[in-house]
């Protein structure tokens, strides 16, 4: 038996994944996908999503070898059809049930329905994760997820109840508990995943962010309330400044929180002998949002200038004066305006994929070092691939990742 010619360094050193997908390469994929999605009234979205995932997976390199996404649009489409088949009678029942019942019974039914939907959402999230994992290939070996969707749904619901009862204090432990369930049920071939981060760690690491949030958001509100109580509300400008501080603080703190939580999460993840160590900066995600905001603003300015230019040209050409004589502008005008509006919306959505989703993906991977990858040798899992039922449900009740 030959000794495989593996690059020697990976046996001892840590490996940092790399993402090679450039904005320029992603833009055509996204623009074409969004365009087709719109003209097919949304049906193309399954193929569009698949193409975006292919781009993200294919360009992610771990230790010299690229990930591969083997999912297909038609699988998502079928998952969607199954979800429709299951959910339509459910919704129909929901629609008809209150008609048969009295007001109180209807209210109870509504509550039960909300509960069922919440449970179904968690179930779908877990099943969708299974679909994505079983379509993820690295070095010719598939990822896999064991565990049950309903088991996860019940766990998450009980945790949620506990979190509500403790006024959010149990939230870090909920995250840890659920991630532990997900990761210990994650497999790379025959190698089992594990999750070592704890709720206590998350609590202490995010405490500063929570306190900052309370100060930045709660402080000005308390101040304004105090001013109102003492009747000093007359000075309007400081109130506006305070509200602005609140809003800006919120915008900064949310991505900072996600970054801290991501670092905590990634540091706890391992598969077999390989474990991740993450050094994502606190402001890494914030910078992504800022970058997207900048690009979007720039595009907005260009569109504005273009619109102004066209308007000015029409005005100086005397077209508008001719138009005001008539009662209605010609139909062409409306069609052109509609098409313009449509295109601008399309480009904004595409910009988010290219300058929001892509850099978040890149930073998530490139901020992690993987130790012990050289010792990771997996045999192919024999468990069959999962279907896209979960993805379909997630799509039908309007949530779900990418």
């Amino acid at each position: 038996m030959d000794i495989p010619a593996v690059s020697d360094s990976s046996w001892t050193e840590s490996v940092r994944p790399k993402f090679h997908g450039s904005a320029r390469a992603m833009f055509p994929v996204v623009l074409k996908g969004l365009f087709l999605t719109i003209i097919t009234l949304g049906i193309y979205r399954f193929w569009y999503m698949t193409n975006v995932r292919r781009f993200l997976w294919n360009n992610t390199e771990v230790d010299g070898d690229f990930l591969e996404y083997t999912g297909r649009g038609v699988e998502l489409f079928i998952g969607f059809l199954i979800a429709v088949a299951v959910l339509v009678p459910f919704y129909a029942m929901l629609f008809l049930a209150p008609l048969y019942m009295g007001a109180e019974a209807a209210a109870v039914a509504q509550g039960l329905y909300g509960f069922a939907l919440l449970l179904l959402a968690q179930y779908a999230l877990y099943r969708a994760r299974r679909y994505r994992l079983t379509r993820t290939i690295w070095r010719g070996v598939r990822f896999q997820q064991s565990g049950s969707g309903w088991g996860y749904a019940w766990r998450s619901l009980l945790w949620l109840l506990l979190t509500v009862l403790t006024l959010g204090l149990a939230y870090p432990w909920m995250r840890a508990g659920l991630e532990r369930y997900k990761m210990t049920n994650t497999w790379y071939g025959d190698q089992q995943g594990a999750f070592s981060s704890t709720g206590g760690q998350l609590f202490w690491r995010t405490l500063v962010v929570w306190i900052a949030a309370i100060v930045v958001i709660g402080g000005p509100i308390a101040f304004v309330a105090g001013m109102e109580a003492t009747g000093n509300i007359g000075a309007a400008s400081p109130v506006h400044t305070l509200i602005l501080v609140s809003v800006i603080g919120f915008i900064v703190l949310v991505p900072v929180y996600w970054a801290v939580e991501f670092r905590w999460w990634a540091n706890g993840c391992s598969v077999g002998p390989a474990a991740a160590a993450c050094d994502l900066g606190n402001f890494a995600f914030f910078k992504v949002y800022l970058g997207y905001l900048g690009v979007a603003l720039l595009f907005g300015l260009i569109v504005g200038a273009l619109g102004f230019g066209i308007g000015a040209a029409l005005y100086s050409g005397g077209v508008l004066e001719g138009m005001s004589a008539q009662t209605r502008p010609p139909l062409v005008f409306f069609v052109a305006f509609g098409a313009f509006y449509f295109l601008v919306g399309l480009v904004f959505a595409a910009l988010w994929q290219v300058f929001g989703v892509r850099p978040i993906w890149r930073k998530s991977f490139e901020s992690c070092e993987i130790h012990g990858l050289g010792a990771l040798m997996a045999a192919q899992s024999t468990t069959p691939e999962a279907n896209a039922f979960g993805e379909g449900i997630a799509d039908a009740i309007d949530f779900g990742g990418f």
Binding site: G42, F66, E68, V74, V88, Y91, L99, Y100, G140, V141
Partner: protein, 393 residues
């Protein structure tokens, strides 16, 4: 011509990475570094998979599904592309799939639209008779609350007949509605509400409530005409047209919302679907309500021809208006908006939901037959009814 080069091989059974040599001979040969043969893939079985730029990622059709050969040597990749005949088989099929998908999606949208606008009303028609009448009543009460908030009314209560001057009108209307509802004998009580608005219209809500608008009352010339319109609306209640309509609208928006997903703004599409299905009842429903009204009027010994005369007269007057009416016609879509209560527009409302008046009058006259009739209301009652929303202006 390059026929050999290096590549990376994964056998699809373990995650072991093998640096191999590739030799393009009668098959694509995969060789170990020492030159011994590891595997041989026939050219027809080679399939290209999605890969990052600069890499040719191959698998063997029929082999382990996750076996991979990754060629990063551009010259070797080019040569492999040249000799493998069906490399792009799946890709061609996929681009074909894209076209197929676009085609079938459009087809699906068309057929769902047809299902939404024709199939769902059919289903609603089949389901409605199975529902208990309490369903209609609950719907009617909900619609009543909404309409009271939406309809533009004159000064005073929404419902006429409460004030001291209006009480005789209310009593006259009660007497009329008792006679009508006794004749109809529906399992739900009929409740006629005189609405303080200049709109020339009458409408039935599911399960009993009927709005009789003051505008229509003022256009009438006899008690039998008013009774005829009310009998027609009772017909809609008896046939449960409103309930069926609401069910169909709910079903349509449900189906469309599902298919479209949230990307293109499902809510907007749902609103459009609802607006479209809230247009008038079908012609059959109107004709059936007419015939029902004729039946009631005849059973009460009243002039059944009066069921259609008010409508016919309004149409005729509208024709005389000529050009003015045409302009109004353009505004038809806006006539429902609050504040738009001038009579022309309101008449158009009524007419637009009641087409083919001449035909209908002929059918009504046919069914009514000739014979002696006695008015349902005496002159004093009719006069009082006309003043139910206050003295004539």
């Amino acid at each position: 011509m390059t026929t050999t080069g290096t590549a990376v091989f994964f056998d699809g059974l373990t995650s072991r990475r093998q640096d191999v040599h590739v030799s393009l001979e009668h098959d694509l040969l995969i060789l170990r570094p020492d030159g011994s043969r590891l595997d041989g893939w026939p050219y027809e079985a080679l399939r290209e998979l999605s890969a990052p730029d600069g890499m040719l990622r191959l698998t063997r059709d029929g082999g382990p599904p996750l076996a991979r050969l990754e060629i990063r040597d551009a010259a070797l990749a080019d040569q492999t592309r040249r000799v493998a005949p069906r490399l792009g088989a799946r890709l061609v099929a996929e681009s074909g799939t894209t076209r197929k998908v676009v085609f079938w999606s459009l087809f699906a949208v068309v057929s769902l639209t047809i299902f939404g606008f024709f199939g769902i009303p059919q289903i609603a028609a089949a389901v409605t008779p199975m529902l208990p009448w309490s369903v209609d009543q609950r719907m009617g009460r909900a619609a009543d609350v909404q309409l009271r908030a939406m309809l533009p009314t004159g000064p005073g209560d929404f419902e006429c007949g409460a004030g001291s001057q209006e009480r005789p009108g209310r009593e006259a209307l009660d007497r009329l509605s008792k006679r009508l509802s006794d004749a109809a004998g529906l399992p739900v009580p009929i409740q006629i509400i005189a609405v303080r608005t200049e709109m020339v219209n009458a409408l039935a809500l599911p399960g009993g409530p009927i709005y009789l608008m003051d505008g229509l009352l003022q256009e009438s010339i006899s008690g039998d005409e008013v009774a005829g319109v009310l009998a027609h609306e009772i017909g809609h209640v008896a046939h449960r047209d409103g309930t069926r309509h609401a069910l169909a609208a709910g079903g349509t928006s449900l189906v469309l919302g599902f298919v479209i997903g949230d990307f293109v703004g499902g809510a907007a599409a749902i609103a459009i679907a609802q607006a479209a299905s809230e247009a008038s009842y079908s012609r059959e429903a109107e004709r059936d309500a007419d015939m029902y009204a004729v039946g009631i009027m005849k059973s009460l010994g009243a002039d059944a021809k009066a069921v259609g005369t008010l409508l016919t007269r309004l149409t005729a007057r509208d024709r005389e208006d000529g050009k003015a009416a045409e302009d109004k016609d353009k505004d038809k879509g806006e006539a429902d908006k609050p504040g738009k209560t001038d009579k022309g527009a309101s008449i158009m409302d009524w007419l637009s939901s009641h087409p083919q008046t001449a035909e209908r009058q002929a059918a009504i006259d046919d069914a009514a037959g000739d014979g002696p009739t006695t008015p349902l209301m005496d002159a004093a009652d009719y006069l009082a009814l006309k003043r139910i929303c206050g003295p004539a202006k």
